[in-house]
């Protein structure tokens, strides 16, 4: 049974699962809680059994059933006695979202939307097993693993200002390419500059509503403006890196005598070689993902220039929502270095944190929350509530409520495409079946999810954007 602590805060008590070291906390409304599966709550409790966990095992309002951690799960571990777990990051390491703002108005873009989406679909490879347009060398691949978006910009994909508006400057320190297996390299090399499939997308949007004019102005957003959102991750490279290290960490669990309620929570004590190697490989995958989104941004700009030669596409921000990071947080009144895992959760630092780019440091970190296909996405700004309640974390999306199997039984891909088309949304995908499992109805309403983080001052609503055109795998 969950205990209501406050409006929008529910506690998973210590007794929910044997071995819990701390309670669980789910930041959610009563209405959204009704849609959370019992298995998700069990997964929050499972995470609470991990050694060295600080304060509580958390879940964001978009929480749903995952493997290991729930999706929407956040947990922090102390450096001394804590662990790192690939089950708290996921296979798609640094799956994330970036938003580009344009100086174009919807009225000018809407008449060209079909052509734009067709060109984006053609120029940015997507779909199962898609190969990129790039043929990078082994050396260039190492650069992507080590220097992420910084390498991509040097190689001609973008401008230095992109890096100044990206989480970690698009480059996570501590990457160890030598911990990336030959298999991960073979998967990653042809896929650099590809979108992938599933819920990943490239979307042309219109700013539909501004909630906070002051913040919107600083983020460069205004009503009626055209924005572009890119949602993708580290592709096969990240999947293989996680697969490889999950095996190593499963052995480490036995070696270090850790008792786990779920094998996917395989982990190693911080400071051990197994933990260090996983962190280094994970950082390499995170950098690959930032290089990937950077390259896709450059191709997106090329497409826009074809139709609007004078158009500018500037990066608003780029967030990771599957990653583990070393961060300082206030614990019992003192600052402590922690390893914060966010799996399907976005960093949402409040004002003043040094990790936030200069342009936004006095405001708080921009938080980009993608909707599902056909539903609004949101731009928020990290608040003090996040620093107090969630180790600076917010939700990452809408959260699934219907299984893929059920979605395919309920909706036809062509029918989904036609329904979106009637609402003026142009969608292109490799196959209509891919659209059925991503139908807007299979997700929680994104506005309710975002309202929860807004009310808790985890992140304040700045703007809502709605889709005009979507390219999917």
């Amino acid at each position: 049974m969950l205990k209501k602590v406050d409006d929008y805060i529910f506690e998973v008590p210590m007794g929910h699962q044997k071995g819990m070291r701390v309670p669980g906390r789910i930041f959610i409304s009563e209405k959204l809680l009704e849609q959370v599966e019992p298995g998700t709550i069990d997964q929050v409790a499972n995470v609470a059994t991990l050694p060295g966990i600080v304060r509580c095992s958390m879940a964001m309002p978009d929480a749903h059933l995952g493997y290991g951690f729930p999706i929407g799960g956040v947990a922090a571990f102390r450096e001394d006695g804590g662990v790192i777990s690939p089950g708290g990051v996921g296979f798609d390491i640094n799956c994330g979202v970036r938003m580009l703002r344009t100086d174009l108005f919807a009225k000018d873009v809407v008449p060209m939307i079909s052509n734009l989406v067709e060109d984006l679909f053609h120029d940015v490879p997507s779909g199962v097993g898609a190969k990129g347009r790039l043929r990078v060398s082994e050396h260039e691949l190492d650069e992507a693993f080590t220097r992420g978006a910084a390498w991509a910009v040097e190689a001609g994909y973008g401008v230095p200002a992109d890096l100044e508006h990206c989480e970690e400057d698009g480059r996570m320190e501590g990457a160890m390419p030598e911990q990336v297996s030959l298999k991960a390299r073979k998967r990653g090399r042809p896929q650099l500059g590809t979108l992938g499939s599933g819920n990943h997308f490239l979307e042309i949007q219109r700013v539909d509503e501004i909630f906070d004019f002051g913040l919107a102005k600083r983020f460069g957003l205004f009503e009626g403006q055209i924005t572009v959102m890119i949602h993708c991750g580290s592709r096969g490279a990240g999947h293989q890196i996680c697969t490889d290290h999950l095996q190593v960490l499963s052995r480490a669990v036995r070696k270090y005598g850790i008792d786990l309620p779920d094998k996917q929570l395989a982990c190693a004590p911080l400071g051990t070689p197994e933990a260090d190697n996983y962190f280094g490989a994970m950082a390499a995958a995170a950098n690959y993902a930032w290089a990937n989104r950077q390259i896709i941004s450059a191709w997106t700009r090329e497409v826009f220039e074809r139709f609007f030669p004078e158009a500018r596409l500037d990066l608003v921000y780029d967030v990771a929502h599957n990653v583990a990071k070393v961060e300082e947080h206030s614990v019992d009144g003192a600052m402590e270095r922690l390893v914060v895992h966010r799996k399907g959760a976005t960093r949402a630092f409040g004002p003043g944190r040094r990790e936030i780019p200069d342009a936004y440091r006095d405001l708080g970190q921009p938080v980009i929350i993608p909707g599902s296909m056909g539903t609004p996405s949101y731009v928020l700004c990290g608040g003090e509530g996040a620093m107090k309640l969630t180790f600076g974390s917010a939700c990452h999306g809408a959260g699934r409520i219907m299984s893929r199997t059920q979605a395919k039984k309920t909706y036809g891909g062509t029918e989904v495409k036609d329904a979106l088309s009637r609402r003026g949304i142009k969608v292109m995908a490799t196959h209509p079946k891919m659209l059925a499992e991503e139908a807007p109805e299979v997700y929680k309403p994104s506005d309710e999810v975002v309202d929860v983080v807004h009310r808790l001052d985890i992140a304040r609503k700045v703007a809502r954007v709605v889709p005009l055109g979507v390219s999917k795998g």
């Binding site: 059933l65 290991g68 998967r187 999947h239 996917q264 199997t405 395919k408 196959h431």
Partner: protein
């Protein structure tokens, strides 16, 4: 005996694959994983790829077998419909010598419904039970990240 059973999971794909031997359960698990992405009936067997792995445990062997098939799918850009595994207990663990049969992906004929990103260890299980006629049935339970 239902050889392949897909179970409900909100975000991912969960299946049970069964066989009258350990080998058959492994082979059906391979088929179930590929079947989550593409209809195996559309995949001809034109080529075969060897899979040779060793692991400390049976679970580790199944995890490696499925991960290896996924790896081959991505780097060879091939889909598979035939799976063969020979499994033996060796010093310090288990060994699998097998192969997968299929063909290179042809975008015109092969429709992918979803992309399997990886094999998870969540609720991962391989077990032997007594069947109805006193024979043994091996069941592999797997959750795939899609």
């Amino acid at each position: 005996m239902e050889t392949i059973e897909y179970l409900e999971h909100t975000a991912d794909v969960k299946f049970r694959a069964r066989g009258r031997s350990l080998e058959e359960a492994f082979e059906n698990a391979g088929l179930a994983m590929i079947g989550a992405m593409i209809d195996p009936a559309t995949v001809r067997v034109e080529e075969t790829w060897p899979v040779d792995i060793e692991a400390e445990s049976l679970e580790g062997l199944l995890y490696d077998w499925l991960s290896e098939i996924l790896y081959l799918f991505e780097v060879e850009l091939a889909a598979f419909s035939k799976f063969q595994a020979e499994i033996e207990e060796v010093e310090g663990g288990w060994r699998l010598s097998g192969r997968v049969g299929g063909e290179r992906v042809d975008a015109g004929r092969h429709l992918f419904e979803t992309e399997v990103k990886a094999v998870t260890l969540h609720q991962f299980e391989i077990k032997k039970e007594a069947g109805e006629g006193g024979d043994e049935i091996w069941t592999a339970q797997v959750v795939l990240d899609v």
